[in-house]
Amino acid sequence: MQAFLDIFDIYLLEAVVNGILLGGVLALLALGLNLIFGVIDVTWICYAELVMIGMYGMYYMVQVFGLPYWVAAPFAILLVAALGAALHYIVIAPLLTAPPINQLLATGGVLFILQSFATVAFGIDFRNLGIRLPVLAIGEMHFSYSRLLAFIAALLGMLAVYFFMTRTYTGTAIRAISQDRQIMSLMGVDTKRIYLITSALGGALAGLAACLLVLQYDVHPFVGLSFGPITFLICVLGGLGNFVGGFIAAFVFAEIISLGGLFSDLEWGYVLAFAFFIVMMFIRPAGLLARRS
């Protein structure tokens, strides 16, 4: 009996740590989406598809053109940042004053365009970087370096965003614009420019997530479906547009997935997470940390 408990504890601890590691990347994904929603007040349904394009960018730069991972990553982030800015300029900006349903449908359309584009341009094969990072063994627990790296990079990315938002004039303007859009011109702020910067920043976060996820997952045109829904649920659970809420919700979800997976298959972890979400929507429909109005 004692031996059984010892093993169980180790697996449990491993699952908890893996949950934390997963939570970092989910929090990064949620931050990008929350940023766009909180500031511009639109939801990028196609957010995870931007991640997918970034993963293909990494695949082509590393596998086809032979660039080292560290050289390719900044380019992938820039690529998706540019994509985010383009998405805003071409699709969102003309619809800023349109009803929310039109904005949802438009970005939903972009989701299918990006999926179809990827299918035609890259094919439906599963691709990967061919990089296999070693596994860290602590006692009888095993953690993959790719997850550790992803967790640390995601935290650093979120920290960078935090300092940008709190220390710079542009970051302060991004926070201010979500509270009073009309009077920004009195401060000398060009709202169009701030929206474009915010969109590029949201894209850059998707790009960073792409660089980290491509180490753990194969890329294919529909890989966005693996991250998109869960990212939305995290944002809604945390309270849409609430950065702190999204951060907490990401770790709550990650732990449920990881611990749920411990007791049976990983898929059951997702089932538990979604069930938890549905229950929470009854208890706290506005999210864990609903924004005070």
Partner: protein, 234 residues
């Protein structure tokens, strides 16, 4: 300094201002008085570029305000303290003031301007890390004026600074306007509190139904029968 010539403005098909001619000279304090819905706020909004005029011209020190993009007007030296203060409620006092110094020219003088504002409102220094939305109405008004002063303006537009404040605080706000004036700043102030505002301004315009009905020095305005009857209650 500021010149408005035959200015028309409104919202969509609704016209709120008709052929306004108005001057503010450097160093002056000018009041615009009139009843609710006369177009006073519209006048302020059109000067600071929140809405664009239908017809007419606005010049600030000879420069065309109408042709300047809205977010560049603050660079001409015009700072607008909007009606109801419009602070960013979930930003700290510090961050609100920082937004006032957003333009590159103002950023360079940020430390100096912050000291100036804290000298004027020591209360704001105590509250600097507090969320602006959690302060009292009077404190919020100080913060809103402080935010406008951060851009180092030449002309300060004040829209109903006394609205919604307790009578004691209203007194303080008008004292403040006097102090700001003594620093050499030019002020254009819109008020419903006619009695108080005529004590702090040099000249005033009476705006009714979107047109200027009367203008003159404060003493002249106080002696005008229509103003005495309608606004001063004597």
């Amino acid at each position: 300094m500021l010149e408005l010539r035959s200015l028309d403005a409104g919202y969509g098909s609704f016209q709120a201002l008709f052929g306004i001619n108005l001057d503010v000279k450097a160093g002056e304090a000018v009041g615009v008085i009139g009843p609710n819905g006369a177009g006073k706020t519209t006048l302020m909004r059109v000067i600071s570029g929140l809405i664009r005029p239908g017809k007419g011209t606005i010049t600030m020190e000879g420069r065309d305000v109408v042709a300047t993009p809205s977010h560049r007007i603050v660079d001409l030296g015009i700072a607008h303290v909007p009606e109801n203060r419009r602070l960013f409620p979930r930003l700290t006092v510090d961050d609100n003031l920082k937004m006032g110094a957003y333009m590159p020219g103002a950023r360079a003088k940020y430390a100096e301007r912050l000291e100036f504002v804290f000298d004027l409102f020591p209360r704001m220094k105590e509250r600097r890390s507090q969320m602006a939305g959690t302060m009292s109405g009077g404190e919020q008004q100080m913060c809103a004026i402080g935010r406008a002063l951060m851009s180092d303006p030449k002309l300060l537009l004040l829209d109903e600074p006394s609205a919604g404040l307790a009578p004691v605080v209203v007194q303080q706000v008008f004292e403040l306007v006097k102090r700001i004036r003594s620093g050499g700043l030019t002020v254009l102030i819109v008020e419903q509190n006619v009695q108080q505002v005529l004590k702090v301004v040099d000249r005033a315009y009476l705006l009714e139904a979107g047109t200027i009905r009367a203008s003159g020095t404060s003493e002249e305005m106080m002696k005008t029968d229509t103003i005495k009857q309608a606004y001063l209650g004597v």
